[in-house]
């Protein structure tokens, strides 16, 4: 006897139909492998371009090849936070359960990408600037972003009622998204005023066309991977939250 939430039942927008977890579940299941495949293909292509086509950088030598993983991870870390805040906002505004689940599903992937961005940033910094960590504006913002992800996940983990968890997470994500630009600009000021040891990432040499291509291909690979991972995770979340419902019981019954 499951029915969609009142908003979802009103056929105002056609795609509200997919706002019900029950209809979205098979859709996510069908889409995820495609995105995963796209991610794998693009990743192989991007790495090939990155390692075999793109030339050695005149200034940095081979270590610049880290950007093919670093820049996509850094981009995705921010993009995923935006997507998370977007779904959270939709969830608050329209009271659709699926939106909150999407936000929850995106957070760990975003945190992993943030971690990768920080890790690769450190490994790039060592041969390039001679230190593992530079208090550069972007790296520092990235670190604070990682803390924001941790806060979001810890808050949701501490709340037992999934409905409250979704809404509380949504408020936090929206507050965070307002704060990210403020954090970034304040860190940048702080950084420019504490010159001295710091090296600005902005003075990166102009990139060769093949380098840019390789990086963009890797960005799309990361994008496709993030979508696939989020879809898989949202399927898990749907199963966990709706495991008492008839359709999940039926689904698991036939799957067994």
């Amino acid at each position: 006897m499951s029915s969609a939430s009142p908003q979802a039942a009103v056929p105002v927008f056609n795609w509200f139909k997919y706002a019900s977890p029950q209809t979205f579940f098979p859709l996510a299941g069908a889409l995820a492998p495609w995105f995963a495949a796209i991610a794998a293909v693009l990743c192989v292509a991007g790495l090939y371009i990155g390692f075999f086509v793109a030339p050695t950088d005149a200034q940095q030598g081979e270590s610049y090849r880290i950007i093919f993983i670093h820049v996509p991870a850094a981009w995705m870390s921010m993009l995923i936070y935006l997507a998370m805040a977007f779904w959270a906002g939709v969830g608050l505004a329209f009271n659709t359960r699926l939106s909150g689940m999407m936000a929850t599903a995106l957070a760990p992937t975003g945190a992993w990408f943030t971690f990768i961005a920080l890790w690769t940033g450190a490994l790039w910094g060592k041969p390039t600037w001679g230190t593992w960590w530079v208090w550069d504006a972007r790296l520092t913002s990235e670190l604070l972003l990682l803390f924001l992800y941790f806060g979001f996940m810890a808050l949701q983990a501490a709340i037992d009622d999934p409905r409250r968890a979704d809404k509380a997470g949504a408020v936090l994500a929206l507050v965070g998204v307002i704060n990210i630009p403020i954090i970034y600009f304040s860190v940048q000021w702080w950084n420019t005023l504490h010159q001295g040891s710091s090296v600005s990432l902005k003075s990166a040499p102009t990139m060769a066309m093949t380098m840019l291509t390789g990086m963009l291909v890797m960005v799309f690979a990361a994008w496709a991977y993030a979508i696939a991972a989020a879809l898989w995770r949202v399927r898990c979340i749907i199963l966990e939250r709706e495991r008492r419902s008839d359709w999940v019981r039926a689904y698991l019954g036939t799957a067994r």
Binding site: F52, S63, I69, P108, W119, W124, A229, C236, L252
Partner: protein
């Protein structure tokens, strides 16, 4: 082609540790995430 031999490729002009350290950890993290997802899906399916 940038590389004359496999060992040259692995050495990355002396920066192999950093380059492969980056890619290794990145892909390990992604593999870990996929592994966690598979385990979670498995647990969710069994939870009846």
């Amino acid at each position: 082609m940038n590389w004359g031999s496999v060992s040259e490729f692995l050495a990355m002009g002396g920066k192999g540790l950093y380059v492969w350290g980056s890619y290794g950890v990145a892909f390990a993290v992604i593999a870990l995430e996929i592994g966690l997802l598979v385990m979670r899906r498995h647990a969710a399916g069994k939870d009846q």
